[in-house]
Symmetry: C2
Subunit: 340 residues, 2 copies
């Protein structure tokens, strides 16, 4: 019996594969390498001493997916495979809808036919849109997300809920806040492909001299230091939440539909300047920055109430912002070694 | 130059093909015959004296769709192809999402690559959910629809809006209220496949003796006669609205994104009992009925404000309920002849 992890060589995917292997699960990875590299697989093997099965293909290729389900006894899926660049999603909406929805629906068709339950979906706090209240808990009303990326996540949640209800299957929708950091081994992390669009990879590259200056998009927001506030959560903590969510689903004997929804955040907001200062303090480096005009679509504050995950999964974020940022710098050094 | 009509042998599709042909358009039909029959094509040819091109395949087969776009100069599309049974959509959500979204996205990929504009989408008043105000105009806030069918329509609208904005294309979202009736020639109409789930086909079959009694699902609603009120609109009027919407898009020279949204209704609400009585009066037949328990998910009242379509398209519904119901009875007689 194995767990299928789609996008298992991606940023959060690879960290989750490590936690699954360390918890004794057999893992089958499908990843088309569109946003990862083959060495991540080797590093997963080095970290865990175990070999996940790996298939390199695009989930839109339904016939190949069917072959994987024929070849393995899949008893659950964690679905990371998705395009995730917010800005790009506005320019290429059809590609985003196609990639993110087709891959999900193809897997659900296999689940339906083969009577498989236990599906964990990578969702995002973007499904809340610009929430009216802080912190955001799981009962905060959803709004239409600002981006096509966010809409694919909201639609994915809706499709999964209908699937669970119609066929009495068990699903867990995990709404990530802002994942950061790298594996303590420094062998897994967020791969910088092109110019980073997230804060922490940009900070990392600026500290490393790859970027001249960090652009801070506005310091006139209604926050203490004027920069927007987010809930940055360590990627290994997020990975562990997936294992906890999976165990809960697999241990549920009811035979009824289960629809779990959890915010994965720390419960604590940090401003952009907080992150810059914490990075500098943690790693004894300087991060030169400049204040720019506000960027369209950025909201002021978003942080989680993550009590539900603690109560129902026995999980909570355990890693401080500084600790997480220390792993980022180790990861950058590792990438430097690889490139020289 | 041709107009692609997907689902062009279906109920509303076939009536629209007739109007397009009568207005001088070349028409290419793709229809997998999952909810129609081949004789409809012959009847379209008899009515119009023209031959549309017809391809019988499922739009999920992307490579066949590409061949159609290679073979014809498509300058616009009216997309009727979709599963549409509300009850079934709750039982088979994955099939509904797959069929309704994949077909749309496949066409948009061809539009994107080939730089084609002018897309008309069959939407539905279900995107308004249980509206708080009557009549429903195009600014009435959308709600999450009650059914998977409705959600596929709402998602389709969202995908099309993002497509239009990203690539400066022209789209029209036509939100149908309750289409009824058959072609005046009695050669096109709603094909009764299985037990009808819509009111008028059920009334028709009851009058014809195929069903013993019409079930009226509740007469304790807060309306004058206690039965729910809907906006029944004649299918040929709806078909004409498509031609008007297409002309408007094709005549827009701006080069900018155009996102037209129109309610297609009469603006007048009729109760279930109104329809039964009008059918009896129009056709001098009896429709025996019985009052049953309310059915889950039925709302009390829904009718359109269709002024926007009149103002911008010069279109309005011209056919009375009685006239429309007379065509239904002629269609039933035609089906009887065919079956004997």
């Amino acid at each position: 019996m194995a767990i299928l992890v789609t996008g298992g060589l991606g940023y959060i995917g690879s960290h989750t594969v490590v936690e699954l292997l360390n918890n004794g699960y057999e893992v089958v990875i499908i990843d088309d390498l569109s946003n990862s590299e083959k060495f991540i697989l080797k590093n997963i093997e080095e970290i865990t001493g175990k070999k996940p099965v790996f298939y390199p293909f695009d989930l839109k290729r339904r016939e190949l997916l069917t072959q994987v389900f024929d070849a393995h006894q899949i008893e659950g899926c964690i679905n990371f495979a998705a395009y995730k660049a917010v800005g790009e999603s506005q320019e290429k909406p059809v590609d985003y809808y196609e990639n993110n929805l087709f891959s999900l629906i193809h897997i659900l068709q296999e689940f339906k036919t083969r009577n498989i339950s236990n599906f964990i979906f990578s969702s995002s706090c973007t499904v809340y849109g610009q929430a009216d209240q802080m912190p955001i808990d799981e009962n905060t009303p959803l709004k239409t997300p600002e981006s096509v990326y966010g809409k694919t996540k909201q639609m994915g949640e809706e499709i999964l809920k209908d699937f669970a209800n119609a066929h009495k299957r068990k699903i867990s929708l995990l709404r990530y806040f802002n994942p950061i950091g790298a594996h303590p081994s420094a062998k897994l992390g967020e791969l910088p492909i092109g110019v980073p669009s997230n804060l922490v990879p940009y900070v990392m590259q600026t500290a490393a001299g790859i970027r001249e200056k960090l652009n801070i998009w506005g310091n006139d927001y209604d926050t203490e230091d004027g920069t927007p506030i987010r809930d940055y959560i360590y990627v290994v903590d997020i990975a562990k939440a997936h294992v906890a969510a999976l165990k809960k689903l697999m241990n549920d004997p009811s035979g009824e539909a289960v629809i779990d929804i959890y915010n994965l955040g720390t419960g604590k907001g940090s401003s952009v300047l907080d992150v810059v200062k914490a990075f500098e303090a943690a790693n004894h480096v300087e991060v030169p920055y400049q204040i720019c005009e506000r960027r369209e679509g950025d909201i002021t504050v978003a942080y989680a109430n993550a009590d539900k995950a603690e109560k129902e999964l026995g999980w909570r974020s355990e890693t401080s912002l500084e600790e997480a940022l220390r792993t980022v710098w180790e990861w950058q050094k590792y990438l430097d070694t690889k490139n020289h």
